[in-house]
C-alpha cells in the first residue's frame, strides 16, 4: 500500500511539473499532496499529515487556482510529446532509488503513542524552535504581500 501511495505521489508530482495546462498541473499537485498526506498518517505522523493536506493540498492549491483565474491562464494547451518520455525515465530512476532505500532501511521502528507525540511536537515547536515560528511568520508575510502586489498589479492593468 505504501509503495502504491509513494508511486502515486511521484507520478502526480511529475505530472504537475510537466503538464502545460496550469489548472491540470495544480490538480495533479493537489492529488500528489493528498497521497503524501495519507503516507504521513500511515507513518504515524498525524501533524505532518494534517499540515500537508490542509496547507499544501488546501490553502496553496486555492491560492494557485485564484492566481490562475486572475491571470487568465485557462487557455487550451497542446501537451508537448517530450513530456511523457522524460517523465517515464525520471519515474523509473526515482522508483529505483526509492525501493533500494526502502530495502536497505530495515524494519520500521515501533510507532510512538499519539499522546506522547502531541506533547513532543508542542514542546519542540514552542519550547525548542520558537525562532523558527518567527521565521514561518516572515515566510507567510512575504507570501501574502507578494500575492497582494501581484493581485494589485492585475487590478491596475485592468
Amino acid at each position: 500500500m505504501t509503495a502504491f501511495l509513494l508511486a502515486g505521489t511521484m507520478v502526480f508530482a511529475a505530472l504537475a511539473v510537466f503538464l502545460k495546462d496550469m489548472l491540470k498541473a495544480v490538480i495533479c499537485l493537489l492529488i500528489s499532496s493528498v497521497f503524501l498526506g495519507i503516507i504521513f498518517f500511515r507513518l504515524n505522523a498525524p501533524f505532518a499529515g494534517v499540515f500537508e493536506i490542509s496547507v499544501v493540498a488546501g490553502l496553496i492549491v486555492v491560492l494557485f487556482i485564484l492566481t490562475i483565474s486572475l491571470t487568465g491562464g485557462q487557455k487550451s494547451f497542446v501537451e508537448p510529446s517530450i513530456s511523457l518520455p522524460i517523465f517515464l525515465v525520471l519515474f523509473f530512476i526515482f522508483s529505483y532509488v526509492l525501493f533500494v532505500g526502502i530495502f536497505r532501511s530495515g524494519p520500521a521502528e515501533e510507532p510512538v503513542s499519539m499522546v506522547e507525540e502531541y506533547s513532543k511536537i508542542g514542546e519542540v515547536l514552542w519550547m525548542g524552535r520558537a525562532l523558527d515560528t518567527v521565521g514561518q511568520i516572515s515566510v507567510i508575510f512575504a507570501g501574502v504581500f507578494v500575492l497582494l502586489c501581484v493581485v494589485g498589479r492585475k487590478r491596475d492593468d485592468k
Partner: protein, 491 residues
C-alpha cells in the same frame, strides 16, 4: 530583547503597513519604513558599542522574567553584517521615497522590503542551520516579490526564473542540513561543531551548490542577470547589496568556517570558484549595453573576489574578503541606485539610447563616478584597499597567477565601467534627452550618502579594519572554536 529588534520591529511594521495604507497612501508608509531603517542602523551601531569586542554570545530572550525560547547569537561577524544590512537598507529606503511611485502600492512595496530586511537579519542572528534556512526562504520569497514589481513580461519571467533556481538552491541546502541532522541528530551550529564525524562529503557538495546558487558564483550565476535586469532598481540594490551577501557569502562563512572548519579541499574549491567568477563576470560584463545587466555580471565578478579572499583562509585573506564584502555592498548598491536614477529620469537603462547626461544629471553622474572608481579599485576609494589586501594575501601564499588574475580583472572592471560612464554621461546630449532633469531630492540624497560612505570608509580604512573587520575575521579564523566558546546569556 535588544537583538530581537532586528527581526521583530521590521516584521511588526510590515504587518501594520497594509492596514494603514487606506488612511495614508504616501506619508505614513514612507515615514514608518524609513524610521524603522534609521532605528535599525542606530541599533547596529549601539550593538557595536555594547559588544565587548570578542566572543560569541547566545542570548535566550526573556519577557518579564520568563523564557521566550528565542535564541539569537551575536559575534564579530554578526555585528559587521548587521551594520552592512542597516546601511544598505536605509539607503534603499530613502531612495524609494521618490522612486517607487511607478511600481504600484507603496505600502505593499515597503512591507515586502521590511520582511526582506527582517529575514536577512534572521539569517544573521540564527543559532541553528534550519532556522537560517527558514529565513533564507522568507528572504527569497520577498525578493521574488521585488523582481515581480516591475510591470513587464520580462520582470515576471525574471521573477519566475529566480523562483525556480532559488528553489533548486534551497532544496540543496535543505538536503545538506538533513544529512547533517541524520549524522548528528541536531541542527544547532554549536552542537554540530561539537559533534564528531559530522562532515559528509555529500553535504559539503550540497552546501557549495546551494549557497553558490544563492550568491551567483560561476557556474551557478545564470539567474542573476535576468532577475536584476527585469526588476525595479531597488531589488538588485538590496539583493546584490545584502541578500547575496547573507544568504550566500555569510552562510558559506558560517557553515564552512564555524560548523565544519575550513578544510584544504573546501578552501581550494572556494579559491577556484572565486577566480572563475572574477574572470567570467568581468568578461561577460564587457559585452553588455544595459546598465543593470552589466552591473549584475560585475556583481558576480566582485562576489568572486570575496570568496577568493575567504577561500585563501589566511588572516589577511579573510580580512580582505570581509572588507570587500562590506565595501562591495556599499559601492554596488550605489551603482544600482545610479542605474535606477538614470532609468527614472530617461525611461531606459539601455546605454546605446543614452548619452551626454552629465549636464542633465550632475549628481547622478558624480556619484556614479565615485561608485565605479570604487568598484574598479582606484585609490583612495574603498574598493582599492580590499582588493589590495586580497592581492597581498594571494602573494603571501604564493598564488601568483591568481594575484595576477585579480589585478587584471580589476583593470577590466575599470574598462567596462568607464565605457558605460562615457556612453551614458559624457559626449553630446541626444535630442530625445533634452527634457531630462535631475532626479528628486531623496534619490539624490541617498546616492550622495552612499558615495560619501565610499570615500570615507576608503580614507579611514585602517580604523575600519581594526574596529569592525578584525573581530569578524577572528570569528572565522577561530573556526570551530568560535562556536564552541559560545557564552549563554539569559535563560
Amino acid at each position: 530583547m535588544f537583538l530581537f529588534i532586528f527581526i521583530g520591529v521590521p516584521l511588526a511594521i510590515a504587518g501594520f503597513l497594509p492596514l494603514i495604507s487606506r488612511v495614508s497612501r504616501r506619508l505614513l508608509p514612507d515615514f514608518l519604513s524609513n524610521l524603522c531603517f534609521v532605528l535599525l542602523l542606530a541599533a547596529s551601531v549601539s550593538i557595536f558599542n555594547l559588544w565587548p569586542g570578542a566572543g560569541r554570545f547566545s542570548h535566550n530572550l526573556q519577557w518579564f522574567g520568563s523564557n521566550l525560547n528565542l535564541a539569537l547569537a551575536l559575534d564579530g561577524l554578526n555585528v559587521l553584517m548587521l551594520f552592512t544590512v542597516s546601511v544598505v537598507s536605509l539607503a534603499v529606503g530613502l531612495f524609494s521615497i521618490n522612486y517607487i511611485d511607478r511600481y504600484g502600492s507603496r505600502a505593499i512595496y515597503y512591507a515586502i522590503l521590511l520582511v526582506l530586511v527582517a529575514s536577512i537579519n534572521g539569517i544573521i542572528l540564527a543559532t541553528d542551520l534550519f532556522t537560517m534556512y527558514i529565513f533564507i526562504e522568507a528572504a527569497g520569497i520577498a525578493s521574488y516579490g521585488l523582481v515581480a514589481l516591475g510591470r513587464t513580461r520580462n520582470s515576471t519571467e525574471g521573477a519566475f526564473k529566480y523562483l525556480i533556481l532559488s528553489g533548486v538552491a534551497s532544496s540543496f541546502i535543505l538536503s545538506g542540513i538533513a544529512l547533517i541532522f541524520i549524522k548528528t541528530g541536531t541542527t544547532g551550529i554549536r552542537e554540530i561543531s561539537m559533534a564528531k564525524n559530522s562532515i559528509t562529503e555529500l553535504s559539503l557538495i550540497l552546501f557549495i551548490a546551494g549557497f553558490g546558487l544563492k550568491c551567483a558564483l560561476v557556474p551557478f550565476h545564470f539567474w542573476m542577470p535576468d532577475a536584476y535586469t527585469a526588476a525595479p532598481a531597488v531589488m538588485p540594490a538590496m539583493s546584490s547589496g545584502i541578500f547575496v551577501k547573507t544568504a550566500g557569502v555569510y552562510a558559506i562563512c558560517r557553515v564552512f568556517f564555524n560548523v565544519y572548519g575550513l578544510t584544504p579541499a573546501v578552501s581550494s574549491v572556494m579559491v577556484y570558484l572565486g577566480v572563475i567568477s572574477i574572470l567570467a563576470g568581468a568578461f561577460l560584463a564587457l559585452g553588455q549595453t544595459r546598465l543593470r545587466r552589466m552591473l549584475a555580471y560585475s556583481s558576480i565578478s566582485q562576489v568572486g573576489y570575496i570568496i577568493l579572499g575567504l577561500g585563501i583562509g589566511t588572516p589577511l585573506g579573510i580580512i580582505g574578503g570581509l572588507l570587500h564584502l562590506f565595501y562591495h555592498s556599499i559601492f554596488k548598491t550605489l551603482l544600482f541606485l545610479n542605474a535606477g536614477a538614470v532609468e527614472y529620469a530617461t525611461g531606459t537603462d539601455e546605454s546605446v539610447d543614452l548619452g551626454g547626461l552629465g549636464g542633465r544629471l550632475p549628481f547622478s553622474s558624480g556619484t556614479n563616478i565615485i561608485g565605479l572608481l570604487s568598484a574598479a579599485g582606484v585609490p583612495p576609494l574603498n574598493g582599492f584597499w580590499s582588493k589590495l589586501i586580497i592581492v597581498i594575501a594571494l602573494i603571501q601564499v604564493k598564488m601568483f597567477l591568481y594575484a595576477f588574475i585579480a589585478i587584471f580583472a580589476s583593470v577590466v572592471t575599470l574598462w567596462y565601467l568607464l565605457l558605460i560612464q562615457r556612453r551614458v554621461f559624457f559626449g553630446k546630449l541626444k535630442e530625445s534627452l533634452k527634457q531630462v532633469v535631475e532626479v528628486p531630492f531623496w534619490m539624490t540624497f541617498s546616492m550622495a550618502a552612499l558615495a560619501f560612505v565610499c570615500v570615507w570608509t576608503g580614507v579611514v580604512f585602517a580604523s575600519f579594519i581594526s574596529e569592525w573587520v578584525l573581530p569578524a575575521a577572528t570569528v572565522l579564523l577561530d573556526g570551530l572554536k568560535s562556536s564552541l566558546n559560545t557564552f549563554m546569556i539569559g535563560g
